[in-house]
Structure formats: structure tokens, C-alpha cells
Amino acid sequence: MVYPPKVAKEPPLLERGPIAWVRRNLLSSPYNIAFTILGLAILYMIIPPFVKWAIIDANFVGHSKADCTGNGACWVFVKEKLNMFFFGFYPHDQIWRPELVIASAAALGAFAKFVRGLHPFKLLLIVLFPIYAFVLLHGGSFGLPMVETSKWGGLLLTLVIASVGIVLSFPIGIILALGRQSKLPIIKSLSVFYIEFVRGVPLITVLFMASVVLPLFFPEGVNFDKLARALIGITLFEAAYVAENIRSGFQAIPKGQYEAADALGLSYWQKMALVILPQAIKVTIPNLVGTFISLFKDTSLVMIIGLFDLLAMVTVTANDRDWLGMDTEGYVFVAFVFWVFTFSMSLYSKRLEKKLDTNNK
């Protein structure tokens, strides 16, 4: 008995397209139907009033509180205080400097996309850019007036803390993770002690230590920059979390990968740098980005040691006598800015995961 070949057909109409999607995801069971209705009701209660407040009834035009009439949001406040939100107390006439730094960072990012792989030039930029940014922001040389770090604030400060924290905690975290994997007992126990100790302490404590307790150990008259102390504290704190993320990546690598690298004659460092770490980091990207997103938001804690990041700027600006009672607009705006950054980070991580996925291209 031989059967003739059969032609592939489309699935039945109700099983494909948007109808099938709605049936499967929204109306598949009585519970599901109930939750769908409940969800729609909640959305109905939240979204229209918010849209009414934030857009329909809102005031966009004007220069003072008096221009804000009606019950809607007063975006005039945000518009007038935008420089404060973005740059804190950075002198008005010098704001081109942070703007230039941010513009060049964006330009370099776009440029880096065109240079493939880990070109040595990229590595050079990672070292040179922070120096360039520091010289430009801090000044005091090349004829630029000095702007002390205590004047930095707002989004600028948030970005400085977050990017320094991310860029520095990453290599330190890798070294700690390797240390924790090490066969040498002293290195291993030092790494384990460091990681577990730091993870046992809240970030607020670390910042407080860095800002208040650390100076007690300095000799009289030595004044170590407050922002630098906070940066060191945050970097060392995050490094422990990065290390644990990467360690979980190591555990996902099959033993055969180590053996194949050994059998090919690779040294320990070659094996780690060329075979194990690239794979370990790849599987940890979602976790790593999660850690970096919380780092980004945790920067707000520097408020506790008297640095004014983006969130702290709400308090500062809404305490302006001309703009009292504008906290809501400030918080909504700041939340939106935070969301733009964190969401971009998670989009980037998704893209990176896809790009590095070598399973089915």
C-alpha cells in the first residue's frame, strides 16, 4: 500500500490570526474571562483620568505658576526647571559642557556600532572617554572654570554615578567571580568573604560609611571628594552583585567546554577569556542588566549623603517659593525619565541577547 503525498493546508479560520489570539489569551476559561473583564475595568478607571490630567487639562504654555489654570498638570513648571532637573546646580553659563559630554557620548555610541567586535580602538575609547568627560565637566584646566562636584546634580549626576558604577563594577565583578571559582584557597575565601559581606550590607550603609565614617580615618586636612567617595562605595557594592551574576553564568557552562579548552592546550587565562567568560556573560545578560537597572535607580540613595540626583531635584525645585505644590508634576516627570532610561536598557539587553544567540540564525 502506497499513499500519495499530501498538500499542507492552512489551519481553520478560528485557529489563526487575531481571533485565535483573543480566544487563547483572553477568553480561554471562565476565570480568564473574569480576569479579562477585571483588567479592562481597572484600566478604564486609571487611564482616562490620567490622560485627562496629564494631557487634556494640562498647561504647557507660560513661564510662571500663574499661567497654570484649571485642574490639569502644570508642565510649565517642568519646562522652566528643566535645567535644574538635568544638570542640578551646574552654573547656567557653563551648561554647554555637560551637554557636550552627553552629545559626544551619544555620537561615540553611534560610531561604535560601525566598528565591529572588540576593536582595540573601542577599548581605548573606554579609557579615554571618562578622562575627557571629567576634564570637561570638572574644569580647572584648559581655561575652563572649575565646577566642583558638589554643584553637579540632577540627571547629570545620576548618569555619572550609574555609568561609572556600571563600567567599573563589571571588571571588578568578573575578577571576584573568577576568584570565587579559583582552586587557590586564599583567593577563593577572600572572594567569598568579600561578596557575602558586601551583599549582607544595605547600600545606604555603604554610602553612609563612605561619606561619614571614611573621612574619620583620613589625616587632618585631607579632603577627599564626596562624589568620589560615593562612586567608590557604589562600585564596590555593585561589584559583589555582578560577581554573583557572573558566577551563575559559569555554572551554566558544561564541563566539556573547560575540557575541550584544556585539551586544545589553552592556558587558564586563555580558557577563561576566550571560551568560558564570553559564554557565561552571554547567559547572564538578563540578570546583569537587571542588576544595572537597579543600580541606575539606586543612585537616588546618594540623596542621603547630600548629593542631589534626579529624584532629589524634585524636592529642591518644588520647594521653590514660586512653585510650591508642584511635587506631583515633578515626580511624574522624573518617573518618566527613569523609565525611559531603564526601558532602553532592557531593550538593549534584548537586542544584545538576540545578537549573541548563535543557536538558530
Binding site: D262, L274, T358, N360
Partner: protein, 278 residues
């Protein structure tokens, strides 16, 4: 013979006009066995309290094809993994080309540059393309110029009939293709000795043939090979010697003819009956 003195510089033998041997006897005439290249003496190994290798004595000559057979857990994989020190051992000695396989970093480097291994699960590096898998060790460990490493890699990919996949990633290939890539990767450092650790055990039946064909080709070219395998057809066709291991010791070793048709020990007779008559 010229072949004998040629150790490091692996040049295409077909290109030299040397005919591929038709039978095992022909092969022996073209590539007579050389000096002992692996010497294992009184090797003992324990996993904790478990005695996995018991007083192993084994000598392999240059150009010899040795097949190691035996039930699972008999220590055959452990034995060949000791030769390139993927496993450490507690007593006895292993010498590869006269170099002691021990903790000494310099010795280890020397040994691993002479011994290549092919694994049951291929162990290709999934984040690198096929070509990158092959050039990784030559470029980083043996400091070959990139161009030369790529040429060598393409030569061996050609040889295992997979050159057209050079820019794909390992997970895009079938198991048989991956294992052939793994063999090409092992060949890229021109090793004197190839260790095969159950190279076909993880493959679908229809892919075993293509991998065995590559291995047979290597064997016919006079490469020293130690192969742990259950493929008795391969053993019969190319092995100079078959070793039967059970419970951590070598029970019997013989030429394939005697091994398969006149097994001496009762244990081997039983084993052959189990694997051949089903």
C-alpha cells in the same frame, strides 16, 4: 621512511602522491609502526575510595591504532583522559614522547600540543563559528599568523568534507557534522596522537558512518590513534590492537582477528556475545 621523520609539519599526503592503502597490510608497508610514543606504567587512579584504574601497563607505538573496548564504568575513558591529563592519577607514570605527564606546567603544555582529543559530546565552542573554533588554539596557543591558521583550518575542513559550513555556528550543524568539525579542530594543531573518547556514542545512527569514514581515513594515513568505542566494525577494519578493559583493568589485548574470533578470557567472550548477538 620520509613519513616517519615528518612529525610537526603535516602536509597533505594525497598531494605528495602517496597512495592510500587498500588493506591493513598495505598500510603497515607504507607506515610501519615506529618507536613507542605513549608509555603507561603501573598506572593507578582512585576517585575517592573507588579504585578506577588498576595497575595499567600500556605501550603505544607511533602510527599504531589502538581500540579500547569494555563495558561502561570499566575505566576506559578515564584511562585515555589521563594521557592528556584531563584526569589526574595517583600512582605510576605516563610518558608521551618521553615527556612525563605530570603537574609541571611546561610538560603539560608540551604534552597537550602533541595530543589531541575528540569527545563524545563534541564540545565545540558554541559562541564561535566553525572556522573560529578551528583557529582559536593555533592563533592563541601556538601563535600562528591568522592567515596561516585559516588556511590550515580550511584544509582540514575540506578533509572532513565540511568546508562549506565554515562560517556557521556549531548548533546549526547536525551531530555528525559537529563531530567532524571537532575532529578537524583536533587536527589543526598537527598532533602526533589522537584520542577519541566514544566519538560516535552521542550520534544518531545515520550519522555514525560519516564520522567513522573520517576516522578511517586518518587511520590509513598513519596517525597514532587511541579510540574508545563500541563500534566493533571500526576496530576490525583499522585497529592494530584491541584492548578489553573491565573493572578498571586491562583484561585482554590482542590483534583484532584473535580478539573477535578467538577471545581467550571468559569475560571478553561474554562481552562480545552481549554486543554482537542482538
Amino acid at each position: 621512511m620520509a613519513e616517519q621523520t615528518q612529525t610537526q609539519t603535516e602536509t597533505p599526503r594525497e598531494a605528495q602522491g602517496a597512495p592510500l592503502p587498500e588493506t591493513k597490510e598495505d598500510k603497515k608497508a607504507i607506515h610501519p609502526l615506529g618507536e613507542p610514543i605513549i608509555q603507561i606504567e603501573k598506572l593507578n587512579k582512585w576517585y575517592g575510595d573507588f579504585h578506577v584504574l588498576k595497575e595499567i601497563d600500556l605501550e603505544v607505538k607511533k602510527g599504531e591504532i589502538v581500540v579500547v573496548a569494555g563495558p561502561s564504568g570499566s575505566g576506559k575513558s578515564t584511562l585515555i583522559r589521563c594521557i592528556n591529563r584531563l584526569e589526574e592519577y595517583q600512582e605510576g607514570s605516563i610518558k608521551v614522547k618521553g615527556i612525563e605527564v605530570n603537574n609541571d606546567v611546561k610538560n603539560l603544555k608540551e604534552v597537550r600540543s602533541n595530543v589531541a582529543m575528540v569527545f563524545q559530546h563534541f564540545n565545540l565552542f558554541p559562541h564561535l563559528t566553525i572556522l573560529e573554533n578551528l583557529t582559536l588554539a593555533p592563533v592563541w596557543v601556538y601563535k600562528k599568523p591568522k592567515k596561516e591558521a585559516i588556511d590550515t583550518a580550511m584544509y582540514y575542513l575540506e578533509k572532513v568534507n565540511i568546508a562549506d559550513q565554515a562560517h556557521k555556528y556549531p548548533n546549526q550543524l547536525s551531530g555528525g557534522q559537529q563531530q567532524r568539525v571537532a575532529i578537524a579542530r583536533a587536527l589543526c594543531k598537527s598532533p602526533d596522537i589522537m584520542l577519541f573518547d566514544e566519538p560516535t556514542s552521542a550520534l544518531d545512527p545515520e550519522m555514525i558512518g560519516e564520522v567513522l569514514d573520517v576516522m578511517i581515513k586518518l587511520a590509513e594515513e598513519g596517525k597514532t590513534m587511541i579510540t574508545v568505542t563500541h563500534e566493533m566494525g571500526f576496530a576490525r577494519k583499522v585497529a592494530d590492537r584491541v584492548i578489553f578493559m573491565d573493572a578498571g583493568q586491562i583484561v585482554e589485548e590482542n590483534d583484532p582477528e584473535t580478539f573477535f574470533h578467538h577471545p581467550e578470557s571468559e569475560r571478553l567472550q561474554l562481552f562480545l556475545k552481549q554486543i554482537l548477538n542482538h
